[in-house]
């Protein structure tokens, strides 16, 4: 076991191998949960590209589930959290004779990948009643809530699959940090499936080998984003190199601290970062994205909600889903003039990709709520359906 620094947990942990702390390029992405509508376009883009063959029927390298109840394989996170002693990583909590703490899901756990879709959590709301939203307090405390969780392989910096493979068939690419299973060396021992805390390695029942998300490396090598990110119609995803300080990903994660990793307590340093949903119970989000630290969630949500007054954050949010090329860096033009301010994006080689307005022009019509028969603007505002001509970029959220 080696002593390694875990940047997300801010402490020294153990890992079976010495891996570099730093990569020149680390494949990384930010998913904005607030914008996702669970249309599953990403899921089908991935499925039709990589996992349409025999033996891959149960594989969802990309899936979008409804939290808190759903996920694929079913209940994977609740199960591992219940096994994991608090304050320990899955490497530190490994049982005698194992390198990683984990389990192999049974067949039925891979069935029904969209179970609990759109199922909310919270008190029962009777027929004819509506949920009250109190905007005066906090928007993170809706009584009834659910949110969509978009998941692909996290291409972790301390991959549990790599640690567990007795064959050393799994490797992390030096050039981009993508984690791959060598199909020539894999002998189907399923140790990676047992070890991956996100259950994003899958056993192919036809080839008798394990397979996983390949980070669309053939596209990455061409400077393009992955299929799931390119296909996202909600523009919720952005891919980039987190190690590069000029990258929008680096800004969102390390400067704005608006995007947080999924279950950092597992200790694998996952490289998908999420902008947490603004309407969800903070304690629950802290368990998922903050290593039980609610202040991280509060900061992220507050920063995100304040984006209209934060020109750089708003500029970076405009980059989501705008191009199929990987954005290497960006610059803000006319920063002092909100009406004319634009953001210019560059690819990994520094070539200009596009220029887009930071404050998009939106035509706004005051209307009435037909269902509640409310026309008074003040009442509309109190119901958080404000149509304020001074904040036309509210559609961002």
């Amino acid at each position: 076991m080696s002593r390694v620094w875990n940047e997300q947990l801010k402490r020294w942990t153990t890992y079976p191998y010495d891996l570099p702390d730093h990569y020149d390029f680390q494949w990384s992405a930010v998913f904005n949960i607030n914008r996702c509508i669970a249309c599953q376009t990403c899921t089908m883009a991935c499925k039709s590209t990589w996992t349409f063959g025999k033996g891959q029927e149960h594989m969802w390298w990309n899936n979008v589930s409804t939290k808190p109840y759903g996920d694929h394989p079913r209940g994977f996170d609740a199960k591992l959290l219940s096994m994991l002693p608090k304050g320990k990583t899955i490497f530190e909590a490994a049982p005698e004779g194992e390198r990683v703490l984990g389990y192999i899901p049974d067949d039925i756990e891979y069935d029904y990948p969209n179970a609990f879709e759109d199922s909310p959590c919270g008190p029962h709301i009777g027929a004819g009643q509506y949920q009250e939203i109190d905007v005066s307090k906090s928007k993170t405390q809706d009584k009834q809530w659910f949110f969509y969780l978009q998941r692909i392989c996290n291409h972790c910096k301390k991959p549990a699959c790599l640690a567990a493979c007795p064959r050393k068939a799994i490797y992390k690419r030096k050039e981009d940090g993508i984690v791959l299973i060598d199909q020539e060396r894999c002998r189907g021992y399923k140790k990676c499936i047992m070890a991956c805390p996100y259950k994003k390695t899958f056993y192919n029942t036809f080839t008798k080998t394990s397979q996983k998300c390949i980070g669309c490396y053939p596209r990455i090598e061409q400077g393009e984003t992955t299929r799931c990110i390119a296909a996202c119609i909600g523009k919720i995803r952005l891919l980039g190199n987190i190690e590069d300080e000029k990258s929008p990903i680096h800004y969102l994660v390390h400067k704005a601290k608006v995007a947080l990793p999924l279950y950092p307590q597992f200790g694998t340093e996952p490289q998908i970062y999420y902008i947490p949903p603004r309407w969800v119970n903070t304690k629950f989000l802290a368990m998922m994205f903050g290593n039980y630290d609610e202040s991280k969630i509060k900061h992220a949500v507050k920063t995100y909600m304040n984006a209209r007054h934060d020109i750089e954050l708003l500029a970076v949010l405009q980059l989501f889903g705008t191009t199929q090329q990987i954005i290497g860096s960006y610059e803000i033009i006319d920063r002092g003039n909100p009406k004319e301010a634009k953001v210019r994006a560059f690819d990994l080689k520094g070539q200009e990709l596009f220029v887009v307005s930071i404050y998009p022009k939106v035509e706004v019509h005051l209307t009435k709520d037909e269902q509640l028969n409310i026309t008074d603007a003040k009442q509309l505002a109190s119901l958080d359906i404000r149509r304020d001509a001074n904040t036309p970029w509210r559609n961002q959220y």
Binding site: F52, Y110, A164, R167, Q183, E184, C186, K190, F206
Partner: protein, 326 residues
């Protein structure tokens, strides 16, 4: 240095092998130094147990016998009763993680020189016949014999070392031609659903519009093709795989032209009876022990119990035993 196997004359060095071929074995991608080191306690535990187990043998006597073609792979054939049996003690593997095994205590081993090859018969108690590798939590029963290939006398038991490579012959229950995986046929997701939980076959007719080549083991359903790996093959010409290893994590299938070992396993009355037959035909560059008459070589046995989720290093294994060839 290129060695060749010569069967018709005495060979002074018992373990001739080819360094040329061994050099093409892919080294594991990660640095070997990063491998969790074997525990010295683990090493001594294995050594101690294998030598102290009461009633266990540490020598396999290998005589010569003759048999007709069909009987060669029949573990129940009478000529096996003439071969001296050795009861080899097995212990859980706790040299390198993941630890495991221990559910099989002993294996009965017989060896014979048969015609132009060598055959081993291995028999052990296993209450469950496990040849299903389709379901997520299922694992196969298997058995393997390991031989040192190097000229040193202290070849590392646990998968050899770069200076002392080993040759491994592994029989796998699910590689048997008649392995009834689902509905007495090889698994086919167009017909069978891999889910036991749901009675409906949710994947039936799922692949009607997928390219034909993607639905073969060679096509491998998309992301990978044109690689050498024996596992994806939907049918195996033999249930025995011929492997070489130069250390932990390095075990590698020999190239297809060297995969000549045959075998057959019969599960009856809670016991596996497995025959492994290796034709000793001279093949250039092949890494294989010589089995020269009037010689002795080392061998070790490992058994995997699928119902106990045993695979890879999670196995019951013996210490080195002596194989005395008459």
């Amino acid at each position: 240095m290129t060695g060749m196997i010569r069967l018709k004359e005495p060979i002074p060095t018992l373990l001739l092998f080819s360094c040329v071929w061994l050099m093409v074995i892919k080294a594991p991608p990660s640095a070997d130094s990063a491998q969790p080191p074997p525990t010295s306690a683990g090493k001594s535990r294995v050594k101690e147990a294998a030598t102290k187990s009461p009633g266990s043998a540490n020598t396999i006597e290998m005589k010569t016998a003759s048999c007709s073609g069909n009987d060669l792979l029949d573990p129940m054939c009478r000529f096996w009763s003439t071969a001296p049996a050795a009861t080899i003690a097995l212990q859980p593997q706790n040299i390198v993680t993941p630890y495991g095994g221990g559910s099989i205590n002993t294996v009965l081993v017989k060896g014979l020189r048969l015609g132009s090859g060598v055959a081993f018969r291995l028999e052990w108690k296993d209450e469950t016949k496990d040849n299903d590798t389709v379901h997520q939590t299922k694992f196969r029963d298997a058995v393997a014999i390991e031989f040192p290939l190097g000229t040193t006398s202290d070849t590392v038991l646990a998968m050899g070392s770069p200076h002392g490579p080993v040759n491994i012959w592994q029989w796998k229950a699910d590689w048997e031609q008649d392995a009834p995986v689902m509905n007495d046929k090889p698994y086919d997701s167009d017909v069978d659903s891999p889910s036991i939980g749901s009675s409906q076959s949710v994947y039936k007719r799922l692949h009607v519009d997928t390219p034909k080549e993607a639905n073969t083991a060679q096509g491998r359903g998309g992301p990978v093709s044109g690689i050498y790996n024996l596992f994806p093959q939907s049918s195996h010409h033999s249930p025995v795989e011929d492997l070489v290893a130069v250390g932990i994590s390095s075990v590698t299938s020999k190239p297809e032209r060297f995969q000549t070992i045959k075998g057959r396993g019969v599960w009856r009355d809670g016991r596996w009876h497995v025959v492994i037959y290796k034709p000793l035909v001279e093949k250039k560059d092949e890494a294989c022990p010589g089995f020269a008459p009037k010689s002795t070589i080392n061998a070790a046995v490992a058994v995997w119990n699928g119902s106990k989720q045993e695979r890879n290093g999670m196995k019951s294994l013996s210490n080195w035993v002596t194989l005395r060839i008459h």
